[in-house]
């Protein structure tokens, strides 16, 4: 299943946030969206999953999602969004219960996704007992449980320290290599973008427009932390963004 944005613009009241965004998200690829803060990249992600409506333009789903897919467009949030009163297991079963999946079938799915995210020993733990990295792995496990056609990741690693971030990037690469998934990955971290993106969409500051789309052909599992060619790409991206970021930083916050 592909996703197409065509001519998407958005404004809050008279305040233009996004201008004429057209973008194709092909199946089985990870598309990273980078841009200075306030460029509307998170808003764009909310349009993609139907959590918000753009003022103009449309978001299209092309082709049907696979039949075993419970929730085609599934988010992974920056703040994890785990229910603090439910255990790891309970947080995952939450998203299955509404599909009538209970008992042995649910146990099977939960055991599988916990194994894939290396959380099998923590099924009974409460979120407060987990570190930030583990919480985000629980959120990833929860997303995997519904078998999404497209994963919408909103700065998923931004709340974590840099070591944990490295580890989780490896985990994401492993997950993708085993079963390629489609993902839109919003981040302000260029290192994450060059590690995980098949293509990287660079946005300008507000009103957000697409400045350039950079493609990376190197397979994900061959990319390493500190690869010279990735560094090169990252430097190039930073060149693109530098002025924008500086200008965005100097703007008054509009609330």
């Amino acid at each position: 299943m592909d996703i197409r944005l065509s001519g998407v613009s958005h404004s809050y009241d008279n305040f233009e946030v996004l201008r004429d965004i057209s973008l194709e998200i092909p199946s089985g690829r990870i598309v990273c969206i980078v841009g200075p803060s306030g460029c509307g990249k998170s808003t764009l992600l909310r349009f993609l999953g139907g959590l918000e409506k753009p003022s103009r333009g449309e978001v299209l789903q092309i082709g049907a999602p696979p039949s075993d897919c419970l929730n085609p467009l599934t988010y992974i949030f920056q703040d994890f969004a785990l229910l603090p009163w439910r255990s790891v297991r309970g947080n995952i079963s939450l998203v299955l219960e509404d599909h009538g999946i209970r008992g042995a079938r649910a146990d099977g799915i939960i055991a599988d996704v916990l194994a894939r995210t290396k959380l099998s020993d923590f099924a009974k733990a409460l979120p407060k007992q987990l570190s930030g990295g583990m919480k985000q792995r629980v959120a990833i496990a929860r997303a995997l449980a519904v078998n999404p056609a497209v994963m919408l990741m909103d700065e998923p690693l931004s709340a974590l320290d840099s070591q944990t971030r490295e580890l989780l990037m490896d985990d994401l690469v492993n997950l993708w290599t085993r079963t390629p998934f489609t993902a839109v990955y919003v981040t302000h971290n260029l290192a994450e973008a060059v590690r995980l993106g098949h293509s990287i969409v660079v946005m300008s500051r507000r009103p957000g427009e697409i400045r350039e789309v950079v493609h990376l052909d190197k397979p994900l599992d061959q990319r390493q932390h500190g690869d010279p060619d990735l560094e090169e790409k990252q430097k190039y991206l930073w060149q693109l963004m530098r002025e924008e970021a500086r200008a965005a930083d100097a703007e008054l916050v509009h609330v």
Partner: protein, 270 residues
């Protein structure tokens, strides 16, 4: 700067200034306060520097309490009072929680009922007792209604405040996983509002006890309120204090029960 390493500079411990502002409550101190106050009263009344007209002797109050228990009247008073309290508070609290949740979820209900609650909240409910007597009869009905009405308004205010404070990002998460509206309310909104609802319930139940006594002072044969009123009009201070002690114990029990519920239901909190 230059004398930083000179031997003449005296080394001094950095003064600690980060203490306080973190009260804990050692268990025995609360008991100690009671014991000290009661023994002061006992000593004073025995030695005569507190006249028995001002304050009854605590040991006499205890004696009265024992008599009350032995005569079986304690249970007669307590059982009707507890029934009134339970029925009234359960009615008021459950209606209050339901209304509060509706206000928290629906714009029209909010627009319509928030001003109404604000108008009802400051009314001293005791003033309405005559009205309730006309509406619900002089018997139990008016007492249930008074207690229910008294617990209703604070519960509503606490509940919709608690629903408003539920983390929106969790609700967003529920929507993003296509949970049904009903599931989101039951599995995300209600548990998320539970801490606020329970702390509101503490206040509501204390109000319920106050109103219970007020209701029983107007036309009741049995009940702790009636017992206190009777003792008061005879200036029987021992019985008056025995009655007041029962009320205090009732309050402590209520608050302990809610504390237990909180510990069980809210064990997920830090």
């Amino acid at each position: 700067m230059s004398d930083l390493h000179s031997p003449s500079t005296a080394a001094r411990q950095v003064t600690f200034r980060g203490g306080g502002f973190a009260p804990s409550s050692p268990r025995w101190i609360g008991v100690a306060v009671f014991v000290v106050l009661l023994s002061l009263a006992e000593l004073g009344t025995r030695q005569g520097w507190i006249s028995p007209l001002t304050l009854p002797r605590p040991s006499d109050v205890l004696l009265t309490f024992q008599e009350l228990y032995a005569s079986g009247l304690l249970w007669a008073h307590l059982s009707v009072s507890l029934t009134r309290l339970l029925v009234g508070a359960a009615l008021g609290a459950s209606l209050g929680v339901a209304t509060g949740v509706l206000i928290g979820l629906f714009s029209y209900v909010r627009a319509g009922l928030v001003p109404l609650t604000a108008a009802l909240f400051p009314i001293p409910k005791i003033a309405l007792l005559p009205l309730f007597v006309i509406w619900f009869g002089i018997d139990e009905g008016s007492k249930y209604a008074l207690i229910a009405f008294g617990t209703f308004t604070p519960t509503v205010v606490a509940t919709y405040g608690a629903v408003d404070n539920v983390d929106r990002s969790l609700i967003r998460m529920g929507q993003s996983f296509n949970l049904s509206w009903f599931s989101i309310v039951r599995k995300i909104v209600l548990p998320g509002a539970m801490p606020g609802i329970l702390s509101g319930l503490r206040i509501s139940l204390a109000i319920a006890i106050i109103l219970l006594v007020a209701a029983e002072m107007l036309g009741a044969e049995y009940g702790i309120g009636a017992y206190i009123l009777e003792a008061g009009s005879l200036y029987d201070l021992e019985r008056l204090f025995a009655g007041v002690t029962i009320l205090s114990l009732l309050g402590i029990t209520m608050s302990t029960i809610i504390g237990q519920i909180e510990r069980r239901v809210l064990s997920w909190r830090q």
